[in-house]
């Protein structure tokens, strides 16, 4: 009995220690005095930020990585729970949110860079669907990702996009999902009839599964992406934005945009 307990405890302790060591090695490598730049992003959000093998990639993350390389900072990509993004930013866990982060509807909540991507909101439906225009969405179930401007607009809470609110009122139901991928899974499984989402993400989903989806021609609303910093942190924002401008001038931004199939880079 006693030896058994001792054995079990030793096993647990060992596992704990191993875990501790493993963590230690994996902790962000901030070399002596080197400034770290921690970018918060939603890793469920290709092509802007996602997991590829053992690293995090995407249009935005590659841009951030290039900014860090130019500034001599240590780049720390930090996937976050999208619902907790404000707490993460406020508490200093991350330095900015750079991840296809729509500016509309939250203009005053962050210290924004100027817009760098023009991102329209489109509607994705199953390839064989009878829906071919917004008018066909009447009485249908449509999914959106939680806490996104398009969700607000479709719910009629965005005065600048009243048309989207009108459209939303024709739906049978607006289903709010945790991630874009969940929304797409709902679409694939037939639980919803359409998904309203960012054009960049929609194109990526169509490329991932050729022949599975089609995109409606109409646009729900136009919006722009910016990089969001904590209120009051204009200094870091300006530094990052200056570095971004340099990348735009030397063609890095266009190269990455082509690589990830992003259309709307703002010059």
């Amino acid at each position: 009995m006693k030896s058994l307990l001792r054995f079990a405890l030793a096993g647990l302790l060992l596992a704990g220690l191993c875990a501790g060591c493993g963590r230690k090695a994996a902790a962000p490598a901030a070399a002596d005095g080197q400034k770290t730049f921690t970018v918060g992003f939603d890793a469920d959000f290709p092509p802007y930020g996602f997991k590829d093998g053992n690293e995090y990639k995407g249009f935005d993350l590659d841009l951030a990585r290039a900014v860090c390389a130019a500034k001599g900072w240590a780049f720390v990509p930090k996937p976050i729970n999208w619902d907790a993004k404000d707490m993460e930013l406020d508490s200093g866990s991350i330095d900015c949110i750079w991840n296809g982060f729509t500016m509309q509807g939250r203009e005053d909540a962050y210290e924004w860079t100027p817009a760098y991507v023009d991102n329209s909101q489109v509607v994705l439906v199953a390839a064989g669907s009878a829906i071919s225009a917004f008018a066909d969405l009447a009485g249908k179930t449509v999914a959106v990702q939680t806490d996104t401007p398009v969700q607000k607009a479709l719910q009629g809470e965005d005065e600048d996009n009243a048309a989207a609110g009108e459209l939303g009122r024709t739906f049978k139901q607006l289903t709010v999902t945790a991630t874009y991928n969940n929304a797409v899974m709902e679409l694939e499984s037939g639980a919803v009839d359409a998904v309203a989402m960012d054009i960049g993400v929609a194109k990526r989903k169509m490329a991932d599964k050729p022949g599975a989806f089609k995109m409606l021609d109409e646009i729900v609303m136009t919006e722009t992406y910016g990089i969001g910093f904590k209120k009051g942190n204009a200094e870091l924002r300006d530094e990052v934005w200056a570095a971004y401008r340099a990348l735009l001038t030397d063609g890095t931004v266009d190269k990455l945009a082509a690589e990830y199939g992003i259309d709307g880079v703002i010059e």
Binding site: L12, G16, R23, K51
Partner: protein
């Protein structure tokens, strides 16, 4: 999508899941015993404090508690979380283990209490008559019998814990389920979820087998 790199990523996540699991048990099992003893203490203040602790821990969502332990230092003490860490550990990980341990300790405490109260008072009296101190009576006579009685409910909690570790995604700790979600999003496929589900099942199968073995070892008396 390449299958094996994805499985490799999930396996790495399984490592983190296992760490959360082991550390939570390591801390919550002894802590639960202390809470149970406090809950049965003759000091009214301590007893009430432990009642409140158990009531809050069981009465609020675990995810909310995780938020509290991770973001609390900032919102309460204005500490910058980017600079917070312990022994080189990411504070996210520390907060997850802290939250899970304190939460599970509350559940374990009630299991311990039920177990301790089920031991006939005659056992304690026999210990006293034979000259054992209170501590000796508890650790040599009562607790070993308690362990045998509470194994089935403890197994229940332990298996729930394996699955609850996926709640660590709330704090973006890269455990298996968080990674499965990312892989699924990156490649628009359900396969990572199925593989993760299989991993969870195998993990729990092993846990259940270990607990069964443990129960068998204690089967020598009725």
């Amino acid at each position: 999508m390449q299958f094996w790199p994805m499985v490799g990523g999930l396996a790495k996540g399984l490592g983190t899941t296992t760490s959360i699991f082991c550390l939570t048990l390591l801390f919550s099992l002894p802590l639960g015993l202390l809470v149970a003893l406090g809950r049965m203490s003759k000091f009214g203040a301590l007893r009430q404090a432990m009642r409140l602790y158990i009531s809050v821990m069981r009465g609020t969502p675990l995810m909310l508690q995780l938020f509290f332990f991770y973001f609390g230092p900032y919102y309460i003490f204005n500490l910058n979380l980017g600079k917070l860490g312990f022994w080189g550990l990411d504070y996210r990980f520390v907060a997850v283990v802290l939250g899970f341990s304190l939460n599970y300790a509350a559940y374990f405490a009630e299991i311990y209490r039920a177990g301790i109260e089920s031991i006939p008072v005659g056992q304690r009296e026999a210990g006293k008559i034979l000259g054992f101190s209170r501590a000796q009576t508890f650790f040599r006579i009562v607790l070993p019998q308690v362990v045998k009685r509470i194994l089935p409910p403890v197994t229940n909690e332990v298996i729930t814990l394996v699955k609850d570790t996926s709640l660590a995604f709330a704090l973006s700790v890269m455990e298996m389920f968080t990674i499965a979600k990312m892989e699924a999003a990156a490649h628009t496929t359900m396969v990572p979820f199925m593989v993760a589900g299989l991993f969870y099942y195998v993990f729990n199968f092993a846990v259940a087998a270990a607990m069964e073995w443990f129960e068998k070892r204690l089967d020598y008396y009725a």
